[in-house]
Amino acid sequence: MKLIAILVILFAVYATLLVPFTQHLQTKPFLEKVGYVPEPLVVKMLAFDQRHAVAAGLIFRVLIYYGTLVEKKRITTTPPDDSSMRAILSVTSRLDPYNMDTYYFAQSLVWDEVKVRETIKLLEYGMRFRDWDFYLPFFAGFNYAFFLKDYKAAATHYTTAARLTGSDLFSRLASRYMYESGQTELAIGYLDAMIKSSRNEAIKKSFETRRSALLEVRRIEMARDRYREQFGRLPALLGELFDQGLLTRPVIDPYGGVFYIESDGTVRSTSKFAGRTENND
């Protein structure tokens, strides 16, 4: 009887402990959750003949982490641990260089110049193995043109994508990139294609958020162009577009930033289209 009472008490203590314990585990930083991932060579040796499964497992953990942030809409307040996620993707690409999930997810994280160079490197590494896959040159071509304005490199990759698909769509895209026109529109088109082909809800949502942001940029750009036509100069402030009635609805950055117009007319946001920290608010 005494033992049963002790057991009941222990179960009660355990049940009380479960909630804070689970919360503690949920709020653990990404690196603590996933743990330190050693150099690819070491992981490769430790994985023995299971390196494909280990790579799939690591990608899965990164996806769960990223997916939780996106699903719970915590991405605007808690920036994802981008460098750790990229370090793991770098390891998975070495463990299983054929695994498309690595490249697809790495590409979905790109939205600034710093990350784009790393991602291009990863994609070009993957192209050595997945030589049948048009997605990798398609991604690399887009990154070169849109972020780095390197139209020559973009055209080379789009030519490869055109050769692999047998479609002239990529050749046409390459030639459009050469003219450096309609960048935002092209990015929206790229995101539309990505959303259509995306199976993972978290990734899909992140693309949709990015597209919403770009649609707002496009709206401001169109108003800016009309302003330039009317007044023969660029607006100094975004407010001028509202004052002249060229913008009616408020422009909202889904990343929580504030839009502004640079002196050369480029539309930017203070969020840089990345999750902002609470300190930045």
Partner: protein, 264 residues
């Protein structure tokens, strides 16, 4: 030898290790669902998980059956009564036991392969892959995995002939598997600029073990199976011949040691 082979298979079927492994094989049922977590390669993930599970289960069988089969008979003095009361030679007995365990590994690989194929096929129906699946590649991956574990069983048998407890056969086999799976990576590392700068002593020691230990990386055809990459028939033939020669060396050595062993 045939009677020893049959008795070995019957013994394995009664073994609890085998039942435990069958229980773990239930995990195949979850593969189609687990594969949907992939972003862009659902079927490829199904192939990855199926082959990994098959490989893992065969590893357990090779270590536990290979490591305990001969030792258990010696420990129970069954070997002594069989070899003393019948005209069966020690070499025939050893080869019979080895053939029994090896045949059982091939049969299990076949069974697990069929279940794995079903899991992959059902996944590919719901999520058609970008590249067509090459079933022959998947079959080759399972077959060469079986060969790898048969080679490991031969290692376990060699260790059993010199051991007085099950520790050496079991842990020695595991250690051989770990080392044999990593030697190619180490060898490749020594070919890099960084590896070239290492002391000559370390390099020659590593090279010695590289040639001495079985090289299991040659049996890994998972990338070919998962991503439908064409197989190199010449390489496959070489690997097959390598297995036959290596197993023959191990069994001959095991037989020599077993003949001289005191069984009482």
């Amino acid at each position: 030898m045939i009677s020893i082979l049959t008795a070995t298979i019957k013994g394995v079927l009664r073994d609890k290790v085998f039942h435990g492994i069958l229980f773990i094989a239930c995990l195949f049922l979850f593969i189609p669902v687990a594969s949907t977590f992939s972003l862009r390669q659902v079927v490829q993930l199904a192939v990855t998980l199926s082959l990994s599970l098959i490989s893992f289960l065969l590893l357990l069988l090779a270590v536990f059956l290979g490591g305990t089969s001969l030792w258990k008979d010696m420990d129970r003095r069954y070997t002594h009564s069989v070899l003393g009361g019948t005209p069966v030679s020690r070499t025939s007995y050893l080869l019979g036991k080895f053939s029994g365990v090896s045949l059982f590994i091939i049969m299990t690989a076949l069974l697990l392969g069929i279940i794995g194929f079903a899991a992959i096929w059902s996944t590919s129906i719901v999520y058609p892959p970008d590249r067509p699946l090459l079933w022959l590649n998947i079959l080759c991956a399972v077959f060469f995995d079986s060969l790898k574990y048969i080679l490991l069983v031969a290692v376990a048998f060699l260790l059993s002939t010199v051991s007085t407890s099950f520790f050496l056969p079991i842990f020695g086999t595991i250690a051989t598997f770990l080392a044999g799976s990593a030697t190619q990576e180490v060898y490749d590392y020594f070919q890099t600029e960084q590896g070239m700068q290492l002391p000559a002593g370390i390099k020659s020691t590593a090279l010695f073990f590289y040639y001495l230990l079985p090289n299991f990386s040659a049996f890994d055809l998972k990338a070919n199976a998962i991503y439908s990459i064409p197989l190199d028939s010449g390489g496959l033939l070489l690997t097959f011949v390598y297995t036959v020669v290596y197993v023959a060396i191990l069994l001959t050595s095991a037989s020599l040691l077993f003949v001289k062993r005191e069984l009482l």
